[in-house]
Symmetry: C2
Subunit: 356 residues, 2 copies
Amino acid sequence: MMSELKINLSDNRKDKPASDKLGFGKYFTDHMFIMDYTDENGWHDARIVPYGPIALDPSAMVLHYGQEVFEGMKAYRTPQEEIVMFRPDMNLQRLNNSCERMSMPQVDTQFVLEAIAKLVEIDQEWIPDGEENALYIRPFMIATEPALGVRASKEYKFMVILSPVGAYYPEGIHPVSIYVEQQFVRAVRGGTGEVKTSGNYASGIKAQEVAKTKGFSQVLWLDGKEHKYIEEVGSMNVFFKVNGEIITPALTGSILPGVTRDSVITLLQDWGYPVIERVISVEELFEASAQGLLEEAFGTGTAAVISPIGSLSLGDLNIEISGGKTGELSQRLYDTITALQRGQLEDSHNWAFKVK
Amino acid sequence: MMSELKINLSDNRKDKPASDKLGFGKYFTDHMFIMDYTDENGWHDARIVPYGPIALDPSAMVLHYGQEVFEGMKAYRTPQEEIVMFRPDMNLQRLNNSCERMSMPQVDTQFVLEAIAKLVEIDQEWIPDGEENALYIRPFMIATEPALGVRASKEYKFMVILSPVGAYYPEGIHPVSIYVEQQFVRAVRGGTGEVKTSGNYASGIKAQEVAKTKGFSQVLWLDGKEHKYIEEVGSMNVFFKVNGEIITPALTGSILPGVTRDSVITLLQDWGYPVIERVISVEELFEASAQGLLEEAFGTGTAAVISPIGSLSLGDLNIEISGGKTGELSQRLYDTITALQRGQLEDSHNWAFKVK
């Protein structure tokens, strides 16, 4: 394995954006991490270099056959001036799971974690102030062999870039209106829905655009087989509180196993809520609403953390959830997770990883 | 719209590979076509420039969320020293259909066809000699906006690169062994299977690798819903001759509408064969074989043209087709289409487009 990490610092530091005007994924820091892979030499030439364009042959396989995987994490500054990341081990394990599915080479997660920590430390001045803000970390791997032909590439680049971000939704935590997507499908069992690869996201953009033109924030995805069972909301996992019980779709093969999903389940269990992972039909959900039993609904993901669902539409049928407001449990989860991420609460599950 | 095509010729022409050692998609010519798109300015800066690496920001959206579409065509030199392409209008119309599904900007197909013709003319010395050889044309479009966030990009590049290619299968037309994929799924209705986008190909690589380790050339894909109905073979459309009748899966929303598929249907109809487009279960196919009625099976696609299927396995069950040899009709279709492509037969359907 690789042991050496070369570091080439930038002579030309960029101006940092104002912390109240960050948006999401618009600005990038002064440095990035890269390493290269070939079938002959494995991973090699690990380096931190000034952030800038990469040169790709126009025939680079990622630009044609889509072999790509990525992850998303965040780093924060604690009140004690420590820099922490939230559960990066889970993200890097999932990265390797994604690589396995996409026939791509796995990485040494320990080495990569150390490289990311070093990168974050070098660019630590980019960690933005402000309650809703964080330094978003984007590891990704692309197939770079310059050849046309549908097969696994023999060459790859693995990179990590950093972006100071504000709240994913500029309004902060607030209930969104969602509609149940009945035409387009995000993923089906046997496909790639349970790993983090670019094709899953490309396929969802059209539905999202249609939702926007109809006045909704996002879509609720149903299963690809029967168009009946709930899978995800936008690019988030989804939870429902029904008659005091928390239910979330079971990981049946087409749903991404979210890190925030796992954290939410753990916290809810800590708090004594029954959490059930099972298949949930959209019909069942609307019936629960009709009976007054649907108490809360929310999406979970790294970018938005918790995204409360204020209303849900299925064709002409529209239901309001939590009176269109952020539910009590959604708010408590958001407050708890963001406080844990920022080191403002006791870390009883050892979720924080200290960068320095 | 754009009217001007700038041309910047290379001062440094590469050596051409020997025409018997081409392989598929390994060598690229001296020039390439590029044009850029922004939401503000539409398509602009169309140019033919020396072939070489492109610079992409590491956050370019194609490297994260996979907005990409592509096409594949071939150019040939006829006995009359003309250069022709085969049905490029169909490919460019499909490109725009793909763009529509992937929320990407469409192109002016007439302008692009002229640009491709110009590019092929400039690099015409790269059209290889040899019966099985051709100049492969790869148009593709990628999302280039440097931003993280799942939505349609506001910036794109459309490019065309050229590669002198030999037969897709180094052995030329010969029967391949295929197995019926029962775990992995290529596409499902509501997804992106009927357009040509990178994610469809990335998702299939794993199954292809497993097939190879089991000693098969490729997989036969079943539908994502019931795992019962035949969709495609590898990255080709598929046809069966059963009791004198030709059947091919109907385009029900998860199957690519192949140009070669369309040409095959047209030729078979010319020749008086009944061609039926309908759903075909794998069970029906194995029953037809048991009754001695499965006479031929073959895949169709731009790369391989016709790829006869010599045997088909479903779990432990294995059937031989056409005695494991290239069937009569498969051979006739291959001979006819390749002769039409090379201008060696009368072009009664106006399929040839003359580059010069």
